[in-house]
Symmetry: D2
Subunit: 134 residues, 4 copies
């Protein structure tokens, strides 16, 4: 059981969404942040770094938006749809962009393949949570 | 001249928005993050902390979303409207929520008054940038 | 296999530390960030929030220092001992402070008990990595 | 008057350090984060990006450590010397590394020159605050 799941289990909640879905989304957001931060470092170690510039940029943007989304969702403040819905939309969109770009380098670089997977999962998780709260 | 402005001035840019507007937006996002982080600490020092719970929560969310927005805008990756527009929408919305809540405590607590101003400015800046790129 | 482990496995590395130890440290840092962010939200939901002020403050500091440490370690830049050693010292120290405070509330609040465990593990992991690189 | 200064002015404080010094340190940390984030983006726009890899890595590490330090200092929790002293040491050290590296590219790239200045100021500010609290 992840810490996200354990904490949701232990916590008074007002947010009316299935705890399993919420915990899975948080875990996936954190995984994506980790994959993107690490992929930035891996890209910078490649001799072909100049071909990976867009990948680095998108990994950084993706990590920042996933971090903010994970923290806002974890904290379980009142859910204002005007905040959480566009935030999840932005997160799904940057995960899509980043996943597409990583996929382009997946055959050449295993780290980009792994990061593409993390981005795809996260895009999917954000859309699932969006569907559940809309 | 702020560091945001100096860096934009020194940097090859592809993002087709007035540099002065962009620099002002970044500065305002960073100011809002700083005000919200500090206000969280100030609220926690008040004896009436139990009345400030919603203020603390919203300050935290606001700081996280402003940080992500500032970094994405500063980095000047390719601007995908599918990412930047909902991100700015989410940022404006959380600044509005946080500013409204801080305003409720503005007469009692000077730190909430100052934070409310920072949130209002940031909400306004996000909407101005949105108008400029849409 | 966590994303931290998969990425280390896929990445050209210059940092001369056992990859398993490094991946475990990164995972533990990320877990601690998650537990501390969530515990802040849970504490703010308790009617006894005024007794949890120090817990909230330390959870926030702990999450911020763990995040920075995880990102610096994940990115695998050149390891300058002048940076990484005091950073790990600071991280272990704030995990100890936060773990001690959470432990004080562990009988009353399950979320503080879970968070105390995450902090203890993270303090331990930081010290182990420090020992391995010193 | 910066928001850091206004908030310190408005806030009940237990941390026994001159408010002007504290506000100036926080402002300098935030400036350094901004310069480093922006410099990462500028470096990635240069055709000679492969010569700027170490600069990008250090800018990222520097931004992360400065962010954590700014937030911990802003929040004004109890100051445990075991946390704040090594954190400021780590911050000064990464600012020195990053400033040195940016300086190497200062003649070629104005953005690296500006970032080097921000790093130097921040290294200096961290050491001054360390001296004041030790």
């Amino acid at each position: 059981m992840s810490y996200a799941a354990q904490m949701l289990d232990a916590c008074r909640r007002t947010f009316n969404v299935d705890a399993g879905l919420l915990a899975a989304t948080i875990d996936t957001l954190n995984d994506c942040t980790q994959a993107c931060d690490a992929d930035t470092g891996c890209d910078l170690s490649e001799q072909t770094v100049s071909e990976l510039v867009r990948c680095i940029r998108l990994c950084q943007d993706c990590a920042d938006v996933c971090t903010a989304t994970a923290r806002v969702v974890s904290r379980q403040a009142e859910y204002d749809a005007n905040v959480i819905e566009p935030l999840l939309e932005a997160c799904a969109a940057v995960c899509k962009d980043c996943g597409d770009e990583c996929q382009r380098h997946a055959q050449m670089h295993q780290h980009c393949r792994v990061c593409a997977e993390a981005c795809r999962s996260c895009e999917h998780a954000c859309r699932e949570l969006l569907n559940a709260i809309k």
